[in-house]
C-alpha cells in the first residue's frame, strides 16, 4: 500500500530551484533514506511533503490526502521531525509532549497510554519534568522523535533523526525505527551512509534538487567495485560512500 507519494514536485525560491521534479512513492513497511550533500533539497522535499511549504508545481500525498489541498487530513496521519528538532525551550518534556498529543487529536486517556509507551521506548522517564532548555542535545533530539511518534502515525518523516547523538544513542534510534517500521512508511534524511545500510530498505540520492538514484542499499553498493581507488578491499558502507561521491560530484546535465 502506498502511503507517501510525490508527483513531479518542484519548489523554487525566487530564481533558485531547490527541488526540481521529484517523484517517488513509499509503501507500508518501507524505510527510505534520503541521501545527498548539504543544500541538495532533502529538507525542502520533506517540508513540501509535510505541508510546511507550498510546492511551486506538482503535489505530495500522505495516505491519499494532498498535503497542500487537504492539509489537516494529511497531517493527522503524519509524524514530522523538522530539521534541527526545534522544541519550545520553556516547557517541560511532559508538558510539551502532552501539548503535541492534544494538538494531534488524542484524548486524555489515549494520550496517557501513548506517552507511557513512548517514555518506555525512548527512555524519557528521567527527564520528564525537566525544562527542555536544560536538556542535552541527545535528549532534545529524542524529545523531537517522541513528539513525531506520539499519535502512532502511518507516516513518519524524520529530518536527520540521529544528528548530534552519541554512537549508543544512534544505535537505539535505529533500533527504534526498525522496530516500528513494519506497517508504516518512514522517510529519514541523513549524512551517515552506514545508517542507510543499517536501517533503510531503500535509498534515494538527491543532489541539486534532482533524484539521482532510487534503489536498495545493496543495489547501490553493487554498483561500485569491491576494491577502492587505493586497491584495498572496501566494506559495504565505504562502497556506498564511493558511489555517493561519484554521482553527486559530477554536474548533472539536463
Amino acid at each position: 500500500m502506498v502511503l507517501v507519494e510525490t508527483r513531479a514536485l518542484v519548489k523554487r525560491f525566487g530564481s533558485f530551484t531547490a527541488v526540481d521534479g521529484i517523484s517517488f512513492s513509499v509503501g507500508s513497511g518501507e524505510v527510505v533514506g534520503f541521501l545527498g550533500p548539504n543544500g541538495a533539497g532533502k529538507s525542502t522535499t520533506m517540508r513540501l511533503i509535510a505541508g510546511f511549504l507550498e510546492p511551486t508545481a506538482g503535489s505530495a500525498h500522505i495516505c491519499g490526502h494532498d498535503s497542500h489541498a487537504d492539509p489537516v487530513s494529511a497531517r493527522l496521519r503524519l509524524g514530522y521531525l523538522p530539521e534541527g528538532a526545534p522544541l519550545y525551550p520553556d516547557m517541560s518534556v511532559g508538558a510539551f509532549l502532552e501539548f503535541v498529543a492534544g494538538m494531534r487529536g488524542l484524548d486524555s486517556a489515549r494520550t496517557r497510554e501513548r506517552l507511557a509507551e513512548i517514555v518506555e521506548s525512548i527512555e524519557l522517564g528521567s527527564v520528564w519534568n525537566r525544562r527542555i532548555d536544560a536538556l542535552s542535545k541527545g535528549y532534545k533530539r529524542r524529545v523531537g522523535i517522541a513528539q513525531a511518534m506520539v499519535h502512532d502515525p502511518d507516516v513518519l518523516i524524520l529530518d536527520e533523526p540521529t544528528d548530534g547523538l552519541d554512537p549508543n544513542q544512534k544505535h537505539e534510534v535505529r533500533e527504534l525505527i526498525r522496530s516500528i517500521a513494519a506497517n508504516k512508511a518512514i522517510i529519514i534524511s541523513t549524512h551517515i551512509l552506514e545508517e542507510v545500510e543499517a536501517v533503510c530498505t531503500r535509498a534515494i540520492i538527491i543532489a541539486r534538487g534532482r533524484m539521482l538514484a532510487d534503489a536498495t542499499p545493496a543495489e547501490l553498493i553493487a554498483k561500485t567495485p569491491e576494491t577502492g581507488p587505493d586497491g584495498m578491499a572496501r566494506s559495504g558502507s565505504l562502497r556506498l560512500e564511493d558511489y555517493f561521491r561519484e554521482i553527486t560530484r559530477t554536474p548533472v546535465e539536463a
Binding site: 525560491f13 507550498e54 530539521e83 501539548f99 494538538m103
Partner: protein, 244 residues
Amino acid sequence: MSMIMRVFRREFAAYFATPLAAVFLTVFLAIIAGMTFFLANFFDRGQADLSAFFMWHPWIFLVLMPAIGMRLWAEERRSGTIELLMTLPVSTWYLVIGKWLAGWVFAGLALLLTMPLWITVNYLGSPDNGVILASYLGSWLMAGSFLAISACVSALTKNQVLAFIGAVVIGFLFVMAGFDLVLSAIQPWAPAIVVEAISSMSFIAHFQRITEGVLEVPALIFFFSLIAFALWLNVQILQVRKAA
C-alpha cells in the same frame, strides 16, 4: 475550540515561564500610576472619576502591546518551532486566534491589577461605576486591537525588534488618525470621503466616546472588526509565506 484553548494555554504559560510577565506587569503599573497621579494630577482634579487614568491608555498601549505581541510569531520563526506548529493537524486560524487570545488575556490581567484605583475612587466619592466598567471594557478592546496588529507584524519577520518597531509605527498611525495635525495635512488634496475614512480610524476618538459614558455601538463594532481583520490578515501572511 479545544484546539484554540490548547494553543492559548501554552502561549499564556509561556509569558510566565520567563521574567517577561513580572517585568511587564511591574512596568505597566508603574507607568500608569505615574501618569495618572503626576501628569494628570488625579487628586487635584477633585472629581471622583477615572478619566485621568483612562486618558493615557492609548499611549501606553501603543508601546506596551507591541511588547507583548512581538514574540508571538517572530520567536517561533527564529527558533524554528513554527515548522512544528504549522505541521500540526489544525487550521491556521486556531493557531492565530489562540496566540492572540493569550496576549489579550494577559493584557486583561494587567488591567485587572489596576482595580485598586477603582476601589480608591469609590472610597473617596461616588463615581459613575457604569462608565468606569464601560471604559475598562473599551480599554481592553483597544488593547486587543493593538495586539492583533502586533501579532500580524510579528508574523512577517523572525526579528522581534523589527516586529516591535513595525507594530508601534502602525499603531501610531491609528492613534494619530483623528488628530487635526494629520487631517489638516491630507484635507487640501484628498477627497472628503478619504478624510472622513481616515479620521474614523482613530483609536483615540473611538475610545474617548466609550470613556465619556456612551458605550457606543459603532465604537465597539470598530474595535471588533479591526481585530477580526488583523487576525484574518495574520492567517493570510502565514499562508503566503508558505508559498514564498
